[in-house]
């Protein structure tokens, strides 16, 4: 489970002064559910997810993941999290197997458990053909599979996906969305960020709309439709993040 309470992150920029990348955000993600963080580029999605993955430290507020506080127990938090984004690249000079083993060991797995889990995941993701191939020699699809294997090796209870399909071809993107669904079906808590409406409609149990670091609206797709009297998610999104734009259009 993920619980974010008044989570905030401020940065100092030489030119723009203080930037509130995440501003007093509170939400909860339940096990066996997918929470979709929907927002435009620069809305604060990546920073929110980095805060949850303890890659960044909050300026104010906090979050707990599986009961562990992100500030007090960042290492315990990371041990319970699988973090995947298009920015999380692979070590080019390691083979797919070596890479997954490395992350398994860092997650404290003993060698017999590691081997067992590795074989299961490689079999399940159909990776045996390229397990000894160096990561810099893998195709985009193979790389994504290796990244998925990396996030799964320690069987985390929480999965965080930061725009995981960004820039991927349709087939590779489908592998990722299928994997996200599988995580939910296996009872994992899933949060993922995107700006693609169709992905949210297809996947998410709960949707949070974020803009300028603020969580502006939250609920199931049905709840959002009722709240904003719109059926189309794109219309709802525009209404929430840019009401002025909508009123101008109406005129």
């Amino acid at each position: 489970m993920i619980e974010a309470r008044s989570l905030s992150k401020r940065f100092q920029d030489k030119k723009r002064g203080e930037i509130r990348a995440v501003d007093n955000v509170t939400f909860t993600c339940q096990p066996g559910k997918i929470y979709g963080l929907l927002g435009a580029n620069g809305a604060g999605k990546t920073t929110t997810l980095r805060l949850l993955a303890t890659i960044l430290e909050p300026t104010d507020g906090t979050a707990t993941i599986c009961g562990y506080d992100v500030i007090e127990n960042p290492e315990k938090v990371r041990a319970n999290v699988g973090f995947l984004s298009t920015a999380t690249a692979l070590y080019p000079r390691l083979s797919a197997q070596e890479l997954v083993e490395y992350f398994g060991r860092l997650n404290g797995l003993d060698e017999p458990t590691l081997k067992k889990r590795l074989d299961t995941i490689f079999e399940r993701l159909d990776m045996n053909e390229f397990r000894d191939r160096r990561c810099d020699k893998l195709s985009t699809g193979m790389k994504q599979k290796t990244s998925i294997a990396r996030t799964l090796i320690h069987d985390p209870a929480v999965m965080i996906f930061d725009e995981p399909t960004n820039g991927l071809d349709i087939m590779t993107a489908r592998t990722i969305t299928a994997f996200i669904r599988e995580c939910r079906n296996n009872g994992k808590t899933v949060i993922f960020s995107t700006h693609i409406m169709s992905e949210v409609e297809k996947l998410c149990d709960t949707i949070g709309i974020i803009q300028s670091g603020k969580l502006l609206s939250e609920g199931t797709l049905e709840q959002l439709r009722d709240q904003h009297h719109e059926q189309d998610l794109e219309e709802i999104f525009v209404k929430v993040v840019a009401p002025h734009y909508v009123s101008q259009e109406a005129r």
């Binding site: 960044l56 999380t88 692979l90």
Partner: protein, 403 residues
Amino acid sequence: MSLRNIGIVYRKELTEALRDRRTIITMVIVPLLIFPLFSVGFGAAIAALIGKAKEETPKVMIIGGEDSPAVVAGLKQVPKIQIVPLEQNWQDQVINKQVPVVVEIPKDFERNLADQKEQTVLIHDYEGDLKSETAKDKIEKYFNDYRDSIVKDRLTARNLPISVLKPFAIKPHNVAPPEKSGGALFFGGFIAYIVVFLCLNGGMHPAMDLTAGEKERGTMETILSSPVSRGHLVLGKFLLVFTTALVTAALSVISMAISFGIVNLLHTKPIQAGEADASLHIGIGAALSVFIMAVPLAVLFSSVLITISTFAKTYKEAQSYIMPILFLVLIPAIAAMLPGVELTPKLALVPVLNVSLLCKELIIGTYHWNYIAIIFGSTCVYAAAALFIAIKMFQRESVLFRS
């Protein structure tokens, strides 16, 4: 758990480094090739060049001398020179290195000698040119011998002993052991410089690759999402950079010991040898001492390199930051080679310069134990401070996610 994680990170970094061509080149190939090239190769090439110049028969032109046949005949008897007819453009020929020297014998040279008049023989040469210098030496020797024989004849004619002109002789006598004096002193400084340079050079690429390179490739975010703490992560990375720096230093020490051993076996003299009898060799004790002194230096270099590279966003940016550091390190290392720069209590506290000066002494077998203690201790303190800064730097979000 913590040591285990540092070990896991180190093992992974080592695996990657050993598969990286650039790391292998700077860590293994450069130290193993640079000494044979500098000593056996370069030294032998210079020795061969000098030998060749000495073996050659230089052409010599004579200006004047028509009225002094005995002197000209004497010159023609000098072994391994060839007297050629004088040409109008003799000066151009010397400048163009076609003729190494031209001897100008004054008018009425022999008659003036008999009359005991003062006169000067001119040797026109090309200063700094090896062939010209060799030919000049031969001509000079002939005239010196000729002059001495005339002086001797004159003294004998007056029944005077040679000691009239030479009441006493002055002769320097070197009491320092040959392996610690002359060319060996420069040799020690040179080796220290190479060890310091290669130690830094060995750690440079891995430090940039493991920090700025990881940021650039996007693997930094991947590893930061794993449970390993940033402190353990940077220590694992540091250990790898330290390993490459130290292996580079160790291989360069081993390589120089072997190379100079070969030089002595072949009896070829590298250019550093000032004295003919100074044999250039490095004992196991000296090599080991240099290596021990290189350990804290490698820690210092690795930590500084990691700190600077962590700040950079890309590998190229890291390179541009590290270039000035390279000069900052090389200047004291070069200063240590200069004659007259010796260890003093103050210099013993100057990083890099102190180790370079000490290594210079260690290689020629001088052990100043008080200096060794001060330098080893102070370098350890600098190294620990640098490592502390590197760890702190790696834990700063503003550095890791600098945009």
